[in-house]
Every structure is written in structure tokens, then in C-alpha cells.
Symmetry: C2
Subunit: 344 residues, 2 copies
């Protein structure tokens, strides 16, 4: 047994447990993503799910099933099921097996595109909290700056106290240092005005706690500030963060749908789409969630990456790459060490 | 003196107090908007601000200043000032004069593009709460459906209790009936999942209170549901609502900026913009905040419309038209009657 928070020793294989059964396009897109990553990175994920299905998909993808490690997990937690209840009722579900592998030290990381709540519950309840962490937080990447701005929590918890927001700031800063090489991450609080006096009692208290902590606080940012790189890490309660990332996604989709409809009603504008295609593609590449593949659950004792339910093969491959990067950068140990150092 | 909540009697002039001094483009764009509305609707707003400046702008806009009613208000509340303190310290500020005119029954409505917090404070503290209302709420229009979805509160209060969210639902439903002719408005709660069990203690309790109220509750909607017309009225606390409308706005601006940059870096895609121009314009027309001109503060004893700081003349003209519509539809009285009937 190895400690999941330590990168693989030389000669020992990096193991990422991939939940093959979770996601709107599972299992096909998940296995395709694993094959894609194997061909670009030269590494094979540990495939967790129905072995027969996995072998068939590997073969039809041009792979030799015998060359892959497969962990049988007959059950699946559906997208609509209640996370905690489902985790407890179905310990043999693919996401639970993934988390058990990480907990046991048999995998360094887990990647799932399935029921987000179930993945979070598996991370917190099975993988377990990292040392010194009260509330793990889910961190989203907001495009615009380089590296992207980290926003957390975006939904691991529905409620938070000021101390939790401060801890999200400490964890986010430790992540930015470990994975993005940001020397001195700027931490801010998400609020409804940039002035220090604007916000809710929660955000005002969190800003004070952060300002008194070693990472400091560069103030409040409004949603527009998420895109401008004004801060490296922005903290909020999980309810607010979830609303914000879903609002961003919904607006982007609405804008695309409106433009499509406007073009359909004006066929003479259609050539514009052809001309602009390279520009649209460039924007998509810079902003697509598939670029990061998934969002990390920070504060658990292993690398846990949760992807979008609609993830395609590219998103799966990128999530595997991001998970590998976090493992090699020793993210979990640096995060807990960072937290311990900060807290004295 | 007349009751501001009753439409003008036949022969008596509709009076809308327009805060000429508030807004990023004030006073020029505000006076231009008043002129624009005067020429399309045949009605002149009551212009509140510095008389010399107003007369000069009217003259340079081709108007006879003597034909307009002007209410002197020498002071201005800046965009960065603390709302409540500023309102108290500067009773002669243009926004305060507007509110005093409504309070005294000398104006039926007020329209301001200035400091939002100051306009809300003037509405609540000077115009005053409508009968039976504990917390007025600011209602935004989310495009997509027809009529648009009303989201409230989007920032009149930083915190709310479940009863306040229920009251926002009652007020929003009364507004949709009065102004949009929606026979049976569907009221929903903004949350982070569509399932009834998903949300914060606040949203779960509010959904229960609404379900037990005469307007009922059609369940939770996520941000994506705001654009699809799944509900006519969606309620939330002011902090969440403000984050959501600012996220929507920030995403739309970010997407435009990204596309512009991608085109600039690929000059061969430029003709696409020319071809697509009519489609972009159609989308903008359907989604621009200037279409509604401003958002109504519901639950105060008069029509109070607050516009975007960046409002141009079109937004001002549309806000004046929307305010006139609310007055003629007797919105305030119908809203308070509706609330009273609902509460028995």
C-alpha cells in the first residue's frame, strides 16, 4: 500500500482510477477519452466499471483489452440519485470503487464525469478529508486570465461559515502554487461590490479572516472580476459559487442559441458563420470546460477530479492529464503542508 | 396632492421624475433620453437636476427649454458613495428630490440611472414601503421567454428570510399580472438543482412557504431555467440574485471581448462580422438591458425604476416608457391589493 498523496516512486506506475460508468455519454466517451490519453501521454488509466462493456469498447477503439487494467464495478449511480444515500446503498458502484482504490493507496487519483454529488460524497466520505481540513471545496477554473482564476467552493457544500471561506482561500492558494506555479497567489472574496463594505455578513467576516491570514486578501471581486485575472483565487460559499458557474454556462449557451436562431431567420447572414469559424473555434478552445476536463475537489486525501456530465472524449483525456499533473506535482501533500504551515 | 399609486385622472398629466444627474453618462445621455421619449411618446418627463445644465442640454438637443418642467436639485450622489449615508447627508441630491416628489404625490414615478444603492435607499426610505410589505425587492428581467422571466430580489437586500422570498414571489406574480398580463404566473425558487430536495435551508423553506401560498410554487429552477421561460417569476435572496445578474452580464461581455480579440488576431475572419451584423444586432435587440431601460423596485409606494449606470439615451427613453406603463397599469395599487388579497 502506498500513500496516495505522494507521487509514484521511480519505476512505479502512476495509477488514475477512471469511473467508466458515470456521465451522460458513458461508457463510450469515457473509454474513448482513456484511449485518447493513452495514445498522447503513453499512459493507461485504470478503468473502473463493467469489464465486458469496457473490453468491447477498447476493442472497437482499436486497443488490445489485455493491455489495460480493469477493475470490475457492476453498479452505477445515476445522474438523478441522491448522492449520500446512493453512496451508502451501492458500495460496488463504479465511483465508490474508484474512491476505495484511492483510499487504499492503489490509485493516486480518481476521475469521474458522473453524478457530481456522488463524486463529491465519495471523495469526502470514502477518500476522506485531508489533515487539518474541515470542509473540502470544489474549485472551478474561470477562463480569461492565464492561469485561469480559481473559484471555490462551487458546490461541495450548500452552506459555509467565514472560517470555511478562509480555508478555501488557503487551499486555493496552495493549489495555485503547486499546480500553476503562482508564486504569491492573490486571494479575493466574491461579493456584490468591490468596496470593502459591500457584501453579506459571511463575505465581510471571511474577508477579515483572510486579511489576517498569511495568504492575505486583495479585497472583493464581483463576477466581472473573475474573468479579468484580478485575483488568482476567489472564495465563496458553495451555493453562490454553484449559481455563478451555472449562470456563466447558461449565458454562454443562451448567447449561442440566440445567434443560431438569428442566423436561421436571416439566411443571408449564413456566410458569416463560415468566415468566423476559426475565430469561434479559438474562443471555444480558450473557454471550453473540456480544456481542463474537470474541477478538483480540494481538501480530500487524494486527487479527485470531477468532470461535466456531458464530457466528451477530449474532456476525459484532459481530465486524466490534469489528474496526472496534480499527482506529479504532489498537490495533496503540498496543500496539506501549506495549510499546516499557515496555521502554525 | 394625489396618490402616487393611482394613474393620472383624465386631463391630469402623467408625471415621471427623471434623475438627470445620476449615471455614468449623465447628464447628457439622460436629457437625450428624455428628448427621445418626448418625441416618440409625446410626453415630457419632469427633469430633476441642475437647471442651467438641463436648459443648455435641451437647447442643444433642439428643444425649447421653456416647454419643459424642471425641478432644481443642485447635489448629486456619486456612483461610489455609501447609499444610506449619502441619502441622509444630501437631501437636496437629485435622486432624493425625485423620491420626495413621488412621496408627495407630485410625481407618479421616478427613474434613475445613478448610484443603484442610493436609488434603492431613496425608494425605501423616502418613497416608503407599500402597505403590507416588509422588504421591497429589485426585479430584473431575464431575456429568453416572452414575456421575460422576472428574477427578484437582485440586490435591494443583502440577506433574506424565507418569508421575504415568499413575498418576492407574491409581488413578482402581482407585477406579472399587472404589467405583462400573465394570467396565472408560475413562481419558482432559484436553486442549485431542480430536484425539490436541492438547495440551501433558505430556498427549501421558501419553496414550502410559496407552495402553501395562493400563488403556489412550480419548484426550483437553476440559472439555465431563467432563460427558458420555465417560470414567470423566480425568487432568491438579493446577494444571490445580484451575483447571477452580474454573472450573466459579465459572461456576455467576456464572450464579445473574446470574439473581438480572436477576429483581430485573424484578419481573414473579419468579413464574417459584416455578414453576421444583422444577426448580432437582432440578438442584441432581444437581450440588451437597454430594451427594458431599468428594473423596478417592487414593494415601495410608487413606481421606482432603476437603470444601469452605463445607460444610453435609448435605455433612458425605454425606462420612461416602462415607468409610464406601470403607472397606467396601476401597478402599485394592484400589487398591494394583490398582496392583501393573498394574505387575506
Amino acid at each position: 500500500m502506498t500513500d496516495a498523496s505522494v507521487p509514484p516512486a521511480p519505476g512505479r506506475e502512476l495509477t488514475i482510477a477512471l469511473d467508466v460508468m458515470g456521465g451522460d455519454r458513458a461508457p463510450d466517451a469515457i473509454v474513448s477519452g482513456a484511449i485518447r490519453w493513452a495514445r498522447t501521454a503513453g499512459r493507461r488509466a485504470l478503468l473502473v466499471g463493467d469489464p465486458d462493456v469496457i473490453r468491447r469498447l477498447l476493442a472497437s477503439g482499436g486497443e488490445d483489452p489485455a493491455a489495460w487494467r480493469i477493475e470490475p464495478a457492476p453498479d452505477v449511480i445515476g445522474m438523478g440519485e441522491h448522492p449520500v444515500q446512493a453512496i451508502r446503498a451501492a458500495p460496488d458502484a463504479s465511483i465508490c470503487r474508484c474512491a476505495q482504490l484511492v483510499k487504499a493507496g492503489d490509485a493516486h487519483a480518481l476521475v469521474s464525469m458522473g453524478n457530481t454529488g456522488a463524486a463529491l460524497a465519495a471523495g469526502v466520505l470514502i477518500v476522506g478529508r485531508a489533515a487539518g481540513v474541515d470542509r473540502p471545496g470544489l474549485a472551478a477554473f474561470i477562463p480569461g486570465g492565464s492561469p485561469p482564476t480559481l473559484l471555490l467552493d462551487v458546490g461541495a457544500n450548500a452552506e459555509a461559515r467565514p472560517e470555511h471561506l478562509r480555508d478555501f482561500g488557503l487551499m486555493g492558494a496552495a493549489y495555485a502554487r503547486a499546480v500553476f506555479d503562482t508564486a504569491a497567489p492573490r486571494v479575493a472574496v466574491l461579493s456584490i461590490g468591490e468596496e470593502d463594505t459591500k457584501g453579506s455578513p459571511l463575505t465581510l467576516a471571511a474577508a477579515e479572516l483572510l486579511a489576517a491570514s498569511p495568504v492575505g486578501c486583495v479585497g472583493n471581486v464581483e463576477p466581472s472580476g473573475l474573468f479579468t485575472g484580478h485575483a488568482d483565487v476567489v472564495v465563496c460559499d458553495g451555493f453562490s459559487g454553484n449559481l455563478v458557474v451555472k449562470s456563466i454556462e447558461a449565458t454562454a449557451e443562451f448567447a449561442q442559441a440566440e445567434l443560431r436562431q438569428a442566423v436561421r431567420q436571416r439566411p443571408y447572414t449564413l456566410p458569416g458563420l463560415a468566415f468566423l469559424f476559426p475565430a469561434f473555434r479559438a474562443v471555444k478552445r480558450r473557454t471550453d470546460y473540456a480544456q481542463y476536463g474537470g474541477v478538483p475537489l480540494l481538501g480530500v486525501n487524494g486527487v479527485v477530479l470531477v468532470g461535466h456530465g456531458r464530457s466528451n472524449a477530449l474532456a476525459v483525456a484532459n481530465a486524466l492529464a490534469a489528474a496526472a499533473r496534480s499527482v506529479h506535482r504532489n498537490m495533496v501533500a503540498r496543500l496539506t503542508d501549506g495549510l499546516a504551515a499557515i496555521r502554525g
